[in-house]
């Protein structure tokens, strides 16, 4: 384990009776990285996250977080902020009281006014949390997680229930923390967020990694796609074009730029206007769908 390794997981196994939710999983996350832990439903990412956060004991394997056992809360948690996927506040405490309480229990120092300002809840400081909307509660969740600028930040579905402005604000705060060296572990169902922001992605399926690497590495194995439609009486398109059910055509390619140029040249030569032309690189969605297709086939 290098001195820059923040999370080190070796041979992790999590079992519930005879069912192994996580099987021999190994990965490490370096300081300053934003690592997205993604997975199909029931892939085992929640169990993995719970062990790494220190909420659950591993059945076997070793897990070190910031060099310590993550279950050792008094040592690890003052350096770690956790935004759980689902957790509550006491309805009879105000926003400021809740942020102050959780912040103080986290063992970090900060100003309540500052963290509430980060999530635009300063004007709600004296409002009881029971009167907050779902999105406001989620923002308060985030505020308590980033209280005291933790070295390591877990974000479990952080933007679920947030409007666009709140999402942008949250990601801007995360970026500022990353600029200061904070390591981020993200889980999300919004794949475009992971694709845009993650340095590396661990993609789980049935208890283990199906893929792990950068977005480019994950998407490299699948072709990009070009889609277009032709006007009536147009000549036959290039032979690599595959007719679709809706009368459009698709070209799947590992050489997007070359094949797109060939298609445009063909259209120019024949004086054909390509209707609804789109060219898209491979997305994480495609990688997910490929995993689903593999599972169905197997």
């Amino acid at each position: 384990m290098s001195t820059n390794t923040v999370i080190d997981v070796e041979g992790l196994d999590v079992a519930y009776g005879d069912f192994h939710a996580v099987k021999d999983l190994s990965f490490h996350i370096e300081r300053g990285e934003l690592y997205a832990l993604l997975g199909t439903n029931g892939a085992g990412k929640t169990s993995t996250l719970e062990v790494v956060e220190g909420h659950r004991q591993a059945t076997s394997g070793t897990v070190r977080v910031l060099g310590s056992d993550p279950a050792d809360r008094s040592v690890v948690r003052p350096r770690v902020g956790i935004m759980l996927q689902e957790s509550g506040f006491s309805a009879d405490l105000t926003v400021a009281e809740s942020a102050r309480l959780i912040g103080r229990l986290s063992g970090r120092e900060d100003s309540v006014e500052r963290v509430l300002g980060l999530v635009d809840l300063g004007h709600k400081a004296d409002t009881r949390t029971g009167q907050l909307s779902g999105g406001e509660r989620r923002r308060l969740d985030f505020a308590t997680a980033v209280y005291g600028n933790p070295e390591l930040l877990f974000l479990d579905e952080p933007t679920t229930g947030l409007d666009i402005a709140s999402r942008d604000s949250l990601w801007a705060t995360v970026q500022r923390l990353r600029d200061e060296g904070t390591t981020v572990v993200l889980t999300t169902h919004y794949l475009e967020e992971a694709q845009q922001r993650a340095d590396r992605i661990g993609l789980m399926h049935r208890g283990t990694f199906r893929h792990q690497g950068t977005v480019a590495e994950l998407t490299r194995s699948l072709p990009a796609s070009i889609q277009f439609s032709l006007p009536r009486h147009a000549p036959a398109p290039p032979t690599s074009s595959v007719p679709q059910a809706d009368a459009s055509y698709a070209i799947e390619t590992f050489e997007l730029q070359r094949d797109l140029k060939q298609l445009l040249d063909w259209a120019d030569t024949h004086g054909v206007e390509l209707e609804g032309l789109s060219a898209a690189p491979t997305r994480l969605d495609d990688v997910f769908r490929a995993i689903g297709a593999d599972s169905t086939a197997s």
Partner: protein, 240 residues
């Protein structure tokens, strides 16, 4: 722990239903027993009234409020949030029950003070009374945490907390009225039985301190049993 205890205290005073249940109801019951102390003294003894007062506060304030509070904090996923901080499980539980424990102690001190003044005399052995009361409170607190382990919601607490609340007051009445000359072992082993015998002896007199202290053992044994049950049964998140 203290920030959490402070926050719980704030919530206790902001939640009117909890306030009424945990503070006013036991006081109303205590006022009833103190008002009719002569009747109850004829049935048992003046020490019996003191024992019933102790277990009224222990059952309807300390025990029932502990069960309700922990079930509510679990149902609202607040326990889960607290476990994502640096606080240990013991710190979290202590912080959550500390205010209700402290309020119960203040309540019983005031109520027994009023009772002593109204009845024209305090306990013969104040040290023994304090020891027995603290042991009884520790037992009810531990039983409250254990009961919270099998309580799904604050509403469910009204069902799960009732048997033991009624039960300890019934045991206190049985022991306080009939004494321990018959079925002594059974009466002392039941929760609240030995503590009642100590409180009666402390108030009425007639028992040496050193001779009475072994009677703390059954009550403290119940604390251990409750802690063991809580360790096995207590859940930090709602059942899915």
């Amino acid at each position: 722990m203290l920030p959490l205890a402070q926050a719980e205290l704030v919530q206790l005073f902001r939640n009117r239903s909890v306030l009424v249940t945990s503070l006013l109801m036991p006081v109303a019951v205590a006022v009833f027993f103190i008002s009719y102390r002569d009747v109850f003294t004829r049935i048992g003894s003046i020490g019996y009234v003191a024992a019933v007062l102790v277990f009224t506060i222990a059952a309807f304030n300390l025990y029932a409020t502990t069960v309700t509070t922990l079930a509510a904090r679990r149902q609202g996923l607040f326990l889960k949030r607290l476990r994502s901080t640096a606080a240990s499980d013991a710190t979290i539980l202590t912080g959550l029950v500390l205010p209700v424990g402290a309020i119960a102690l203040v309540q019983i001190a005031l109520i027994l003070g009023v009772f002593a003044a109204a009845s024209g005399g305090g306990p013969v052995d104040a040290v023994l009374l304090v020891a027995a009361t603290l042991a009884a409170f520790a037992m009810m607190l531990a039983l409250g945490i254990a009961t919270a382990g099998v309580t799904n919601s604050p509403e469910h607490a009204q069902v799960t907390a009732l048997p033991l609340s009624i039960g300890v007051i019934a045991v206190a009445s049985w022991v306080g009225i009939t004494g321990t000359e018959s079925m002594a072992l059974l009466k002392r082993l039941l929760p609240g039985g030995a503590a009642t015998e100590l409180i009666v002896a402390a108030w009425d007199g007639g028992a040496a301190l050193t001779g009475s202290l072994p009677l703390l053992a059954p009550t403290l044994a119940w604390v251990l049993v409750a802690v063991a049950v809580a360790a096995k049964m207590f859940r930090w998140e709602p059942r899915r």
